[in-house]
């Protein structure tokens, strides 16, 4: 959504508040649409939900940030709903780099749909009924309108900020291993068997022997093996900015160890991820969990567990996010530019135009930040 909003906002001279409103509204719609289709869209049907749903909502977001009329916004949604790319999860399983384009496709589709609506073309008015009838095989529409406008899912704590550049489902596994390897040394050559238990979505990470870094980021067996074979590098690199190198793809030790990694579903973890509320009964608070069980050659068993929500990624503070930002852009932009971006983002609601923020990405720094 944000690339669509920023691209349109920059072109149209949108204010910071317009950008924030478009972002909040479109996040909310996208989250609700995600809840309507659930994990079956990806696990059973093989479609990549962030792209499929994102294309539709990015269309509305692009129209919203330009403060288009209600008709044009409706037409943008209705056109976008007819332009949704068939982003196939199989591309990830097959190690195809086109997967990295998926969420470029979504904002591009959104901007195009909004631009077409702005020319006067009209879209499907009842795009919700038509799209759900044609595309997802399973859905439940209730979350779409439930308390819409009064209850905001974006404030529920359900949005989680990622701290490692790996597929979401690999995060709790990597978190569990990080905790384990931070506290104890473990000789990978003694490892006989590794079982990784998580929700049913763990199936998305069932990629063995990836041949590109694109697919390596989604391969739980590879990631587990890489962490165990190179524990010091792994533990020292909090955001894994340097750890995922091409060399690891051809590392024979990593190749051998990933063959002993087994992935399995824990039904309780599955319930906690799919059903428990992010801000509901604490007894059934949403969790995003993995348990890694490592059997060693002498019969010893080592177990590591992590819930990424409890780890704080669902409620990161400004400082937490800023720390991540500075870490991931270090070496890419000079510190002054990073300062300007951070400052402009925190003050976005006061900005008459999104342009100073955009300029802080690429243009000359004016020292005002």
């Amino acid at each position: 959504l944000l690339p669509a909003i920023f691209a349109t906002g920059e072109r149209e001279g949108a204010s910071g508040q317009a950008v924030l409103v478009a972002a909040c509204v479109s996040y909310e719609v996208l989250i609700r649409m995600g809840l309507t289709v659930g994990a079956r869209l990806v696990l059973d049907q093989g479609l990549h939900p962030p792209t499929v749903l994102g294309s539709i909502v990015a269309s509305g977001a692009s129209a919203k940030v330009r403060e288009a009329s209600a008709d044009v916004v409706a037409n943008a949604f209705g056109i976008g709903a007819c332009m949704v790319p068939t982003a196939l999860m199989a591309s990830g399983y097959q190690h195809a780099t086109v997967k990295d384009l998926f969420q470029g496709m979504a904002p591009a589709t959104g901007v195009m749909a909004a631009d077409l609506a702005a020319t006067g073309l009209t879209g499907v008015r009842d795009w919700v009924t038509s799209w759900y009838a044609a595309v997802p095989r399973h859905y439940e529409l209730d979350p779409l309108l439930d308390r819409l406008g009064s209850y905001w899912h974006v404030s529920s704590g359900g949005i989680r900020i990622k701290t490692r550049p790996v597929m979401a489902m690999a995060q709790p596994t990597m978190g569990a291993l990080h905790g384990l390897l931070s506290e104890q040394a473990l000789d990978w050559q003694r490892v006989k068997r590794i079982r990784v238990a998580s929700s049913r979505r763990i199936e998305l990470g069932r990629i063995y022997h990836p041949d590109t870094v694109v697919s390596a980021r989604a391969s739980i067996p590879f990631l587990v093996a890489a962490a165990l074979v190179h524990p010091q590098e792994f533990v020292a690199d909090a955001y894994l900015l340097h750890f995922l190198e091409d060399d690891h793809l051809t590392d024979p030790d990593i190749a051998r160890l990933q063959d002993v990694v087994e992935l399995e579903v824990d039904p309780e973890f599955d319930y906690n991820l799919e059903r428990a509320e992010p801000s509901g009964d604490p007894a059934h608070y949403m969790k995003f969990e993995a348990r890694v069980t490592i059997d060693l050659d002498d019969g010893e068993q080592v177990v590591a567990y992590k819930d990424m929500f409890a780890a704080g990624t669902g409620n990161m503070s400004r400082n937490d996010v800023e720390r991540k930002f500075r870490a991931v852009v270090a070496g890419l932009i000079e510190p002054a530019r990073a300062d300007a971006i951070v400052s402009n983002v925190w003050r976005l609601d006061e900005a008459d135009s999104v342009q100073p923020l955009v300029d802080s990405f690429t243009g000359a720094l004016d020292g005002s930040a």
Binding site: Q45, G46, L47, N75, G78, I79, A81, C82, M83, V84, P85, T86, A87, L88, M89, A90, S91, Y93, Q94, H95, A96, T97, V98, D100, L101, F102, M105, D115, L116, A117, T119, G120, L121, T122, G123, V124, R125, D126, W127, T129, S130, W131, A133, A134, V135, R137, T212
Partner: protein, 478 residues
């Protein structure tokens, strides 16, 4: 025993390995007819109802001048040219189709191929080869998913499938290496828009973008593959798992490369600018009106019987011309209200005017139209060979008299030769380009197999004084 990649592997091999020399004379001849028809439709669409909107879009998104927007003086990026030309073709509802496979292969394949060929300086033979391959792929895939994709699931078949033909053909005409061709098609499978047929039922004018988008994404997929992006090796298997709810791949590879579906007689040309399913109905009405005059005020009931696809035309009161072209009740009402202009206008170039949308008599007659499925007709279009594409119209008058007409569109439109396609081309482009360049376009495509490039053709499609799109029509545009 097939493995889980066999279909993708064999289809990709067909795209990569087929050469011009592998095409029969009949395939080459048919592709020339298709090219001429599609170019004519693109020119016609350039002055259509939605053309002003597309002109504004093209103007705002003008890219590097690589390929021609037909009928304009404008060149833009190959992706944008493919988009606009494909949208213009689709907007006419007059381009050739392979009805059984629910495919308008040319709408997405030809704009993509010509845009890349113009940009990359490819020969006429390169174009003919790529077009034939793209057509063959699309027709076979259309047969795999069948009418359920649209009738039961609500997706627009030609737009949803179009990118497969467009990406394969764009990669082929771009002369990419085998591995890159495979990646292009795989990227295309991931980009394929899931286009909703509700666009039509809900009278949305953006329906006209459908096959322009497929063409543009085809070019883009080939360009991304050329840039080094990889696609999945197995592309059709996961697509069939994810998108259509029913499919039958048993015939997909049968005689691939030896028995060409494009030569089967399944392709047919459209002579009327209306949704394909409406053509036999209008033919039957022409039969009825040919027997003698019929006063609109005397009509008490009209029964239209056709295949089950008749449901695609169940739009009662269209509010724009895009929807009107797909509305059987409206079209029947318009014909019965204004029989003489209808009979005098074989290609309906002037008959379908926006004034008909608000014509009370047309609306009154549309209310009298009942649509019904004839299961023999259904069998004849979906299963029989030679197939038939039929409708029967029964008009009951207030005095009890019954007039009945029947029409099978197939014999007339499935075996048109180059001269007959040229006649249609001249008729539909007469208001857009002069006779002399029109004749040169017809000659250029007839000799395409000996052309070293398509620049001569592209230049003819860039008139020095482009015709202004019809901005005064009822329009979908602001």
């Amino acid at each position: 025993m097939s493995d889980d990649k066999e279909l993708s592997r064999e289809l990709t091999r067909f795209v990569v390995e087929t050469r011009y020399e592998d095409l029969s004379a009949d395939v080459v001849e048919r592709m020339k007819r298709s090219l001429l028809d599609l170019v004519g439709c693109a020119l016609l669409g350039s002055i259509g109802e939605t053309a002003p909107a597309f002109a504004r879009y093209a103007s705002a998104h003008a890219g590097r001048p690589e390929a021609t927007i037909f009928g304009s003086g404008q060149r833009t990026s190959a992706v944008e040219a493919a988009f606009i030309n494909g949208a213009h073709v689709h907007s006419t509802e007059m381009s050739e189709t392979f009805t059984r496979a629910l495919a308008h292969p040319g709408n997405s394949v030809i704009p993509a191929v010509l845009a890349v060929a113009e940009r990359d300086g490819r020969s006429g033979r390169d174009v003919l080869t790529a077009v034939a391959i793209g057509y063959e792929l699309l027709i076979r895939l259309g047969a795999v998913v069948g009418p359920n994709l649209v009738m039961e699931q609500g997706l627009h078949g030609p737009a949803t499938l179009g990118i497969f033909g467009a990406s394969a053909a764009a990669a082929k005409v771009g002369q990419l290496e085998a591995e890159v061709v495979r990646n292009a098609i795989g990227i295309g499978a991931n980009s394929a828009p899931m286009s909703l047929i509700a666009m039509m039922y809900q009278q949305a004018t953006a329906k006209d973008i459908f096959q322009g988008q497929a063409a543009a994404l085809g070019v883009q997929s080939a360009d991304l593959a050329r840039a080094g992006i990889t696609g999945p090796q197995a592309w059709i298997e996961p697509w069939l798992h994810a998108v259509p709810r029913t499919s039958d791949t048993s015939q997909l590879l049968k005689d691939l490369g030896t028995d060409w579906r494009v030569s089967s007689g399944g392709l047919h040309f459209k002579l009327l600018p209306v949704m394909a399913m409406a053509a036999p109905t209008l033919g039957a009405l022409r039969e009825i009106l040919g027997e003698g005059p019929l006063a609109a005020a005397d009509v008490a009931h009209v029964l239209v019987e056709s295949s089950s696809r008749i449901d695609l035309g169940r739009i009662a009161f269209p509010d724009n011309m895009v929807a009107a072209r797909a509305s059987l009740p409206f079209l029947v009402g318009a014909v019965l209200s204004h029989p003489e202009p209808f009979l005098a206008d074989p290609y309906l170039r002037r008959f379908l005017e926006p004034s008909l949308l608000a014509d009370e008599q047309v609306r009154a007659l549309a209310r009298l139209v009942e649509m019904s499925t004839d299961y023999e007709f259904d069998y004849n279009i979906e299963k029989a060979w030679p197939m038939k594409f039929e409708a029967r119209v029964t008009v009951r008058l207030a005095n009890g008299e019954v007039r009945q007409g029947y029409w099978d569109t197939w014999p007339q439109t499935s075996q048109m030769n180059y001269a007959q396609v040229a006649d249609k081309f001249f008729a539909i482009t007469s208001a857009i380009i002069d006779t002399e360049p029109a004749e040169r376009i017809v000659a250029e495509i007839a000799e395409l197999d000996s052309a070293s490039s398509v620049e001569g053709l592209a230049a003819l499609l860039r008139p020095s004084t482009p015709v202004t799109p019809v901005t005064t029509r009822s329009a979908p545009v602001a």
